[in-house]
Amino acid sequence: MALQDKYKELIDAANAAGVSGLQVNEQDGVLHIDGEAPSGAVKDQLWGIYGKIDPNFLTGDVVMNIDVATAVAGAKLKVTTDATNLNIRKGPGTDQPIVGKAAHNEIVSLISKQSDQWWLIRTDGGVEGYASTTYLTPVE
């Protein structure tokens, strides 16, 4: 319960922003927050609040897994790597051969979600393959 108090602002914000299927469970001293944000901006906002309450997320008392509802087939995604190209692979996994690359900040299309980690995407150049969701941000 103490954790829910500590992260009250975060939970309240998630509710206020219309995060659907929001689940907040405390387990073994870790607060698990799951849900689907209506937009990528809401997800960013929630991570911002989390980072404010727990600077640099170093306490390790929260695991927050927020999906973005707009990330559906056909949605546009921005390649949010630091500066480098994003590898597009034949299959979901870093052991898979690279079939192409998407440039930093390039906009690609989401074809389908293989998992929370790998999405099937297509670039405007026509390259199709799997890319790590870590570097893909839905464009509103």
Binding site: G29, L58, G60, V63, M64, N65, Q117
Partner: protein, 164 residues
């Protein structure tokens, strides 16, 4: 005289009773023998009528079915065997519950796939907890933390991480 007569009646009744019993127990005896012989094959019941044994129930294999029939056949007094046993293989044993180690291995593979793009950071997985060590810039770590939380670990322990 009257008493003698009564005794004779009682005796003859007793004799009749014994004879009638003697015919019937035969099937019962056979059944007892067959059931005893089939004890090693559970799930099989034997009915005996006029020396004909009817086996019913379910066994695991065709071999068990034949074995039960042969066992019944050789029992004393058995004329023939009607084998109505059905073969139903036992349900396959449920797959072993995914051990924590397996879950860790899956999680570890996923974690390694993500962390390898973050030089300077190493991750370990134990009992569903991801332990992060090394050095990172704050914004890089945030990206990694978001990705790791997406794997639904029990905890992401970054107490060994230094933010540059």
């Amino acid at each position: 005289m009257k008493l003698k007569h009564l005794t004779a009646v009682v005796l003859s009744m007793g004799l009749l009773f014994m004879i009638s019993c003697k015919g019937k127990p035969k099937d019962a005896d056979i059944q007892a023998t067959v059931v005893a012989a089939l004890q090693s094959t559970p799930g099989v019941t034997a009915d005996v009528k006029d020396g004909v044994v009817t086996l019913s129930g379910t066994v695991a294999t065709e071999a068990d079915k034949d074995a039960a029939e042969n066992t019944a056949k050789v029992a004393q007094g058995v004329k023939s065997v009607v084998n109505n046993l059905t073969v139903t293989p036992p349900p396959p044993p449920p797959p072993p519950a995914p051990a924590a180690a397996d879950a860790d291995a899956t999680l570890k593979t996923a974690v390694e796939g993500i962390v390898k793009d973050f030089p300077g950071i190493t991750a370990d997985v134990k009992d569903g907890v991801i332990t992060i060590t090394g050095e990172s810039k704050a914004d890089r770590w945030k990206k990694l933390k978001i990705a790791l939380d997406g794997l639904k670990p029990k905890k992401v322990d970054a107490s060994g991480l230094k933010i540059k």
